[in-house]
Symmetry: C2
Amino acid sequence: MLNEVIFYSLEKTIKRYRQFAQAHIDHAGIDITIDQWLVLNVIRDSPELGQVEIGERIFKDQASVARIIELLVKKKLIVRTPSASDRRKLDMQLTESGQRLMNVVTPIVHNYRRLALEGLNEKDIDQLKIILDVIFTNCLSTPHKHDTIRKTKLAGQPDAAGS
Amino acid sequence: MLNEVIFYSLEKTIKRYRQFAQAHIDHAGIDITIDQWLVLNVIRDSPELGQVEIGERIFKDQASVARIIELLVKKKLIVRTPSASDRRKLDMQLTESGQRLMNVVTPIVHNYRRLALEGLNEKDIDQLKIILDVIFTNCLSTPHKHDTIRKTKLAGQPDAAGS
DNA sequence: TGTATTTATATGATATATCATAGAAATTTG
DNA sequence: CAAATTTCTATGATATATCATATAAATACA
């Protein structure tokens, strides 16, 4: 029963957290999405990274990163110049306005992260991380043909999956 | 330090879980997304619900539910007929094919959920749920003007947010 | 009852996620 | 070196998320 609902709790919590985070940014009158901020943050810290590597750091794929970068350029938060070392790339750099935005938003991010964790101690967070890592690791494996066959056979059984 | 990374762990884990789940469905050769399955599942169990209520059960907003329902109709997994009691509504019902799909997919869902939780006991899941609920509750509050002012003042400080 | 308000659904606009692929450039290899 | 392969970015197609709004119908209320 709890098993069944745990993924709903995960979805529910992460969605609420995202809304909470965005609400704090919006509330400060800043026109940027959390995802855009994440990419901007990586670019500031590691301007040499390509789109794939940026994505790896924030769990986005290359296509998403490419589109977010476009928006950052449109918003004049970064500028791109042809890279000297690799002509497929464009070097990226925060504009003045991009830097100012980071300076304003970063403490807001720290603050809402702190608020979201109120009432939890180091041990709780540690425990949470450990459990999430187990789930993450479990989800690394690919389904095999064999699994599918077994799955189908389980269809009529009294829910051995416990969910 | 752990604090800083915990939301990344959450995002990382939920994204991996979604891919894992979808991979299991795809692997069985079934043409449906997890989200479509979620909506279909609610409709089967509670065909009387409106789009807002469906959304509440699976943490989606009305617009997303409306669009998913459209796709379910296009895929001929449900049919809609004008509601007798409320002419704004359309009653929904699973087609034969929709029911067959549910019969095939449901055990797959149970299976990958079980796989994702391997190595975790009841206590772990319970603990996970409790911690997630704390975060969820913390994220229910709305940012206030006052918070914004305090946040801005924290800007130059040595990261009191711990993140 | 007639009007105002609320509710339910649909849809437009924009952002992000995912998969696939195109095109250009870099790298590897024979 | 030339051809094959790989890497990097851009982009098309589709699905979902979010916000806003339109429309129609139901409900509340004066």
